[in-house]
């Protein structure tokens, strides 16, 4: 069949119009994207994957939760204030999310591998929410992971004991594994609910 100019125009015009409309829709959607209450990274980067010992007895890989929104935090089970507050907030946020919570995974990585075994993390995290998963590993593994996420952790010795001064925020990771936002310490459960709903609806 001979393909003349009119036929090309007849074929190309609707396709071009459709592409234009699609791109305009995307632009409008981007402009209308609801704002998160957390601090947002632009452009987002892929959240570094890791392989640690999970508190659920399995290998803990971030990529295991692709398709879910992940809240990633760093802390330790002997933490006197920051970690219990954050974990209680996250447990409350999960309850408020209702059925949508099935698509949210809380992952908490220890900064204190000396004391935080997988079993200890399971017991500790389970006291907040049975679905929370903890991660532990060697000191070197965890230090390398903290570097990739820009997490600070400094050991402070008091007599015969010690604590860690550590970054207190959590990261919000979307279904595609993009590191989208940083929620500062002390934000309310409703702030998490608000942001997680947005990430889940995308």
């Amino acid at each position: 069949m001979k393909c003349n100019f009119e036929m090309k125009v007849l074929f190309c015009a609707p396709v071009a119009t459709l592409l234009l409309l699609l791109s305009l829709t995307n632009l409008v959607q981007a402009a209308d994207a609801p704002a998160l209450k957390a601090g947002v990274f632009t452009p987002p980067r892929q959240a570094p994957d890791f392989s640690l010992q999970g508190s659920d007895g399995h290998e803990l890989k971030l990529s295991r939760y692709r398709g879910k929104a992940v809240v990633l935090g760093f802390g330790f089970t002997s933490c006197p204030d920051v970690c219990p507050t954050t974990l209680a907030t996250l447990a409350q946020a999960r309850r408020k999310l209702g059925s949508a919570a099935a698509d949210v995974q809380i992952v908490y990585i220890t900064v204190d591998p000396e004391r935080d075994t997988a079993a200890r993390m399971k017991q500790y995290l389970g006291s907040f929410d049975a679905t929370f998963v903890g991660g532990t590993g060697t000191a070197e593994q965890l230090a390398a992971l903290r570097k990739e996420y820009g997490i600070q952790a400094e050991k402070k010795t008091y007599g015969s004991s010690y604590v860690y001064a550590h970054s207190s925020f959590t990261y919000l990771i979307d279904r595609n594994g993009s590191l989208r936002a940083l929620m500062p310490y002390g934000r309310a459960p409703d702030d998490y609910v608000h942001d997680l709903k947005i990430l889940l609806q995308e």
Binding site: K37, T42, G150, L182, P184
Partner: protein, 152 residues
């Protein structure tokens, strides 16, 4: 002579009253952007590596709800950098809005104290609060001429 001096004093007093009345009674316009921007310029890492001491983020950042209540950090350098509370990739920006007046502490290795404090003041609604806000803003603008984007 006495009359002229008296007139001068009265004029000064009237001017001060008018200024205070304006500062206290005129609402502070919302302005355009509510971003308080801090940037790591290109080449910062190289300059630091060569021993130069470059301070970008102050220890204490003051924001005001409804006027300038969003912290916007930009890494324009070619390498990843810890900026404020977080690690930022080259070309990446980080926008953190605040909705509650409070004092926020962030761990920040860039500061000697290891802390960065963000103080978020409530929106100045009373005349006295507006006067104080404008006085503080004027002082800030005089001190750091670059921050002239603040509304009055």
């Amino acid at each position: 002579m006495r009359a002229a001096r008296s007139l001068l004093i009265w004029s000064f007093a009237a001017g001060a009253v008018a200024l205070l009345a304006w500062a206290g009674l005129t609402p502070i316009p919302a302005g355009g952007s509510r971003d308080e921007v801090f940037e790591i310029p290109k080449g910062t890492w190289e300059r630091r590596r060569s021993g130069e001491n470059i301070g970008i983020l102050p220890d204490k950042i003051r924001l005001t709800l409804g006027i300038r209540d969003t912290l916007l950090l930009k890494n324009l350098d070619d390498v990843p950098q810890i900026f404020g509370p977080t690690l930022m990739m080259p070309g990446q920006s980080f926008r953190l809005p605040f909705e509650k007046a409070s004092e926020y502490q962030f761990a920040c290795t860039a500061h000697a104290s290891g802390q960065m404090t963000v103080i978020v003041d409530p929106n100045p609604r009373t005349p006295w609060a507006r006067i104080l806000w404008r006085a503080r803003t004027a002082k800030e603008i005089l001190k750091q001429g670059s921050r002239s984007g603040l509304p009055w």
